[in-house]
Amino acid sequence: MSDTETVRIERETGHEVTGELPPRQAMLRRARRHPGFLLGVGLLAALVLFAFIGPLVWPYDTYAQSLTNRLVPPVWHAKGSWVHPLGTDHLGRDLVARLIQGAQISLLIGFLATALSGVIGTAMGLSAGFFGGRVDAVISYFITIRLAMPTILVALAVVSIIGGSLTIMILVLGLLIWDRFAVVSRTAGRQIASNEYIAAAQAIGVPVWRILFSEILPNLAGHVIVIATLEMAHAILLESALSFLGIGVQPPMASLGLMVAEGKEHMFFRPWVVGIPGAALFLLVLAINYMGDGLRDIAAPESRA
């Protein structure tokens, strides 16, 4: 990324072995040397650009139907053309324009649902780990209950009762996938709280909220960010699954799962109608997972398993 790394200063022998870098610089340095992480970040950046800059440059409208141009094959097909590079769907809508919106929705839901669940889960886990005792018992009880609930079925039930919309999807997913945040920050929080610098802060008279926010949370951040990336991929897949089942994002909006659902009747003769949104989903989740795995190595290299 930056070329400062390639410049190696040849030093004479006998110079002293220098100390460690500050934590932030050390992390940046590990990030720059992690090919998986760089691949994930690059791919994800490309997809974000596609989703949010795309609409400004792409000439077709997401909803414009053209029944004379139904199911046009993509450009690499014998009958394809550059007019619609990825072809059109069963209503003659341009697939690139549909994909752009699908990617937007996936990223939006993934990000917001993860942010919501991250706040819930971290707050619960951190309190359980730090206070222990009764607080821990109650929160662990909630975590256990949550782990026993099948995510898809609960989401299905809730959405079919109150009806599907973007906001509801974000809320439902955000309120459902906090379990991993809670489990990890409970364990990590307990371990961090047992350090002597926490006792030192207590002995100084630092108030509890400040110990939680300024002494423990910064040390927990690495773990939380790693979980967040993995949960984001999880949320995106859940959204696609719900939309595929018809209870997520509602037509005529586009979503990757919905596009697969709409194309499934044409799957045998025109496989690209399903293959293209499927591939997009695959790439998106792959990018996020690569980034998450990389982050884990970068944030906590000693706990690599």
């Binding site: 022998t13 500050p22 934590p23 030192a200 100084i204």
Partner: protein
């Protein structure tokens, strides 16, 4: 079946007896790093004499452990090992297939590691592990191996050995595990045992027992022992031959009496001076110390590596690398100075042995008091298990006077650290009262307490938040107590850092960029920035090297004088406590068993437990051997404390009454002691016979 019947045929030998044992010549370990080649071990030559003990001594980072791992062939692949000669009983260990090396390892050579908690496999019974290691190397049946395992466990002093075989490591205490480890290493009756800091993780009484056991087994089996340690006391009491390592080189070699009594290298001398030795320095005076830390360099040295810390360094030391001077007979050193030109060690050693009695600091009125304090925890096993009572601190009464150093000693698990938390107000007592200037702190706000009492903790690696800069860490108390503004903080922090001997530029450094000693100085700076009157030091030097320990102790002494501080000094290192404290409290299983002034305690300990603790101290006196321990190994389970006097199961003087009745702490003119037999002539005999 006799033990010798199982002995493997001796490895090939040139017959002359020369080259027997371990021979290391010109051993170098190098790692290729981004900035150059780093050699943590360079040009090390060592040899062992069969049946004798070789001690390798030095600070951390000097390459002691890497040397032993290189000998064992246990270094990671990234390490490059070269040597002119590396052989054991004539067999070359460098030019050997990994398979053959693995055969020798565990069979002819075994290794004992520092941490008995992690060196045994947690999911196999100790019996399985012991039997397996033997069957790896010998054609014996399980029954035969089992028989030998029982025999060895008995020899290392484990009772009911047959039943122990079925136990898992987590069911055993640290001392027992280390015994099991030693028995396991003896399964194949090796010729050589390499022990890397085998007692560092253990309590003093257990340390003495384990070392005595190793020496005893050495005699029985004719073992050769390589003992790696940082403790000159251990060296003096166990070694036949000594190699002092510094920055990857052996800087001095010789017999134990040569190296300890007449050290030639300035580093060896400086290491010896760092130790507080009872009766040689007046209490509360500076110890000798070595400035800075071990230098780690890339490539080859261009000067003496110790020159930057050496009190006798001059131009010749920096002119080029220093070679070994060797007059023969295993004696050698690496120094350009003429040993005769060095000043004689400790001209002041003649300071009267009663020095510690004359030095009494000025002690004022009571600043802090504990009255009958109890702290109880409830331990629940599993979700539905019954909660069991753990009395961490019971009925402790203490007072601390202004300007006083109160030592607090006892084995791990005796409640020292819980007591520290009670004093700091982090735990509030279940019964009794903690008074500050005569006022109870039971209802006090933590911030009020914080201004008067501050802690210094043990582990410099966990006492500083890794995500914060030194400046943020030291200024935290100022920000919590809203003293001044940010600009003032910076000035104050810099001033404070300088006072504890750190450069002001460290304000922007992160803890991971500092050495252990520097981190501990940051902790001290943080503790003292609000100018408290009382400092609770919870093992402040036990995670540090002796040279750094001396630096920190000197700093604590200076700061105490400067700010008239009172210290509560918790430590398991009795020599340090003796050097610093005015009074000492000895704790056992949550209770104080003896409380008296330092001179009285160290000269005439009255409680059998105090006597046992003091006996276990290893002073660096060559030839005195390991003191025989009179207390059994078993520190009782605090969940199930013994009846009557908690010490009775380990006490050699216990009588019937001790089993029935708990002795009260009784105060008289010389101090307080909790023992039924304190006035008994038999106990008085026991303590005088040792002096």
């Amino acid at each position: 079946m006799t033990l010798t019947a199982l002995k493997a045929p001796p490895t090939q030998d040139d017959g002359s007896g020369k080259g027997r044992g371990l021979v290391v010549e010109g051993l170098t370990v190098s790692f290729e790093k981004e900035d150059g080649i780093f050699k943590p071990v360079r040009d090390v030559s060592l040899s062992t004499t069969p049946g004798q003990t070789l001690c390798i001594v030095g600070e951390s980072g000097c390459g002691k452990s890497l040397t032993s791992l290189a000998v064992m062939g246990l270094l990671p692949r990234a390490a490059k090992v070269t040597a002119d000669r590396l052989s054991f009983n004539g067999a070359d260990l460098l030019d050997i297939s990994p398979r053959r090396l693995a055969q020798i390892r565990g069979d002819r050579i075994s290794m004992i590691f520092q941490d008995p908690m992690s060196s045994l496999h947690p999911t196999f019974t100790i019996g399985n592990q012991m039997i397996e290691i033997m069957r790896q190397h010998r054609k014996v049946s399980r029954a035969q191996a089992r028989e030998r395992a029982v025999d060895l466990l008995e020899r290392v002093g484990i009772t009911a050995a047959g039943q122990r075989l079925g136990q898992y490591p987590h069911q055993l205490s640290g001392g027992l595990r280390q015994r099991v480890m030693i028995a396991m290493m003896l399964m194949c009756e090796p010729d050589l045992i390499v022990a890397d800091e085998p007692t560092t993780a253990l309590d003093v009484t257990i340390q003495a027992q384990i070392l005595a056991l190793l020496k005893d087994l050495q005699k029985q089996f004719g073992l050769t022992l390589v003992l790696i340690t940082h403790d000159m006391g251990i060296v003096a009491r166990t070694a036949d031959e000594v190699a002092v390592m510094y920055a990857g080189q052996v800087v001095e070699r010789g017999t134990a009496s040569q190296v300890i009594s007449a050290p030639l290298h300035p580093y060896t001398r400086a290491l010896m001076d760092c130790l507080p030795v009872p009766g040689t320095q007046p209490r509360g005076t500076h110890l000798g110390s070595i400035p800075a830390t071990v230098q780690q360099i890339y490539g080859d040295p261009k000067a003496c590596l110790f020159a930057n810390r050496c009190a006798h360094a001059h131009a010749a030391c920096r002119a080029g690398p220093v070679g070994e001077t060797s007059p023969g007979e295993g004696r050698s050193w690496r120094c350009v100075l003429d040993p005769k030109a060095l000043p004689s060690r400790r001209a002041a050693a003649a300071i009267a042995t009663d020095a510690r009695e004359t030095a009494s600091g000025e002690v004022g009125e009571n600043v802090m008091e504990l009255r009958g304090v109890d702290q109880t925890f409830w331990v629940r096993r599993g979700l539905f298990g019954e909660a069991r009572r753990l009395a961490a601190v019971s009925d402790v009464s203490l007072e601390l006077k202004r300007g006083e150093v109160l030592g607090l000693v006892g084995e791990s698990g005796c409640g020292k650290s819980t007591l520290a938390r009670l004093l700091l107000g982090l735990n509030r007592p279940d019964a009794g009262d903690v008074l500050l200037d005569g006022k109870s702190i039971a209802q006090a706000d933590q911030r009020v307490i914080a201004r008067r009492i501050q802690p210094i903790f043990q582990d410099p690696y966990s006492s500083l938040n890794p995500r914060k800069t030194v400046g943020e860490i030291v200024s935290l108390p100022l920000s919590v107590h809203k003293v001044g503004d940010r600009r003032e903080w910076k000035g104050k922090v810099e001033e404070q850092l300088e006072r504890v001997g750190l450069p002001g530029r460290f304000i922007h450094s992160y803890p991971n960029q500092l050495s252990g000693g520097q981190r501990q100085r940051v902790s001290i700076a943080r503790a003292l920035i609000m100018r408290p009157e009382i400092v609770v030091c919870d093992e402040p030097t036990s995670a540090l090297d002796v040279s750094v320990q001396a630096q920190i102790i000197n700093l604590l002494i200076d700061l105490q004088k400067e700010f008239t501080l009172s210290y509560i000094f918790i430590s398991h290192n009795l020599a340090v406590v003796e050097h610093l404290a005015n009074r000492v409290a000895v704790m056992y299983l949550g209770r104080i068993v003896e409380l008296t002034d330092t001179a009285t305690l160290f000269d005439r300990p009255r409680h059998p437990y105090s006597q046992a603790l003091l006996k276990s101290v290893l002073t660096p006196e060559p030839g005195r051997g390991i003191p025989e321990s009179t207390v059994g190994a078993g520190f009782p389970n605090p969940l199930d404390p013994p009846s009557g006097c908690a010490f009775h199961p380990r006490c050699p003087f216990a009588v019937d009454r001790c089993r029935r009745e708990r002795p009260a702490l009784q105060t008289d003119a010389t101090g307080a002691v909790a023992c039924h037999r304190a006035g008994d002539p038999e106990l008085a005999m026991a303590r005088t016979s040792d002096h």
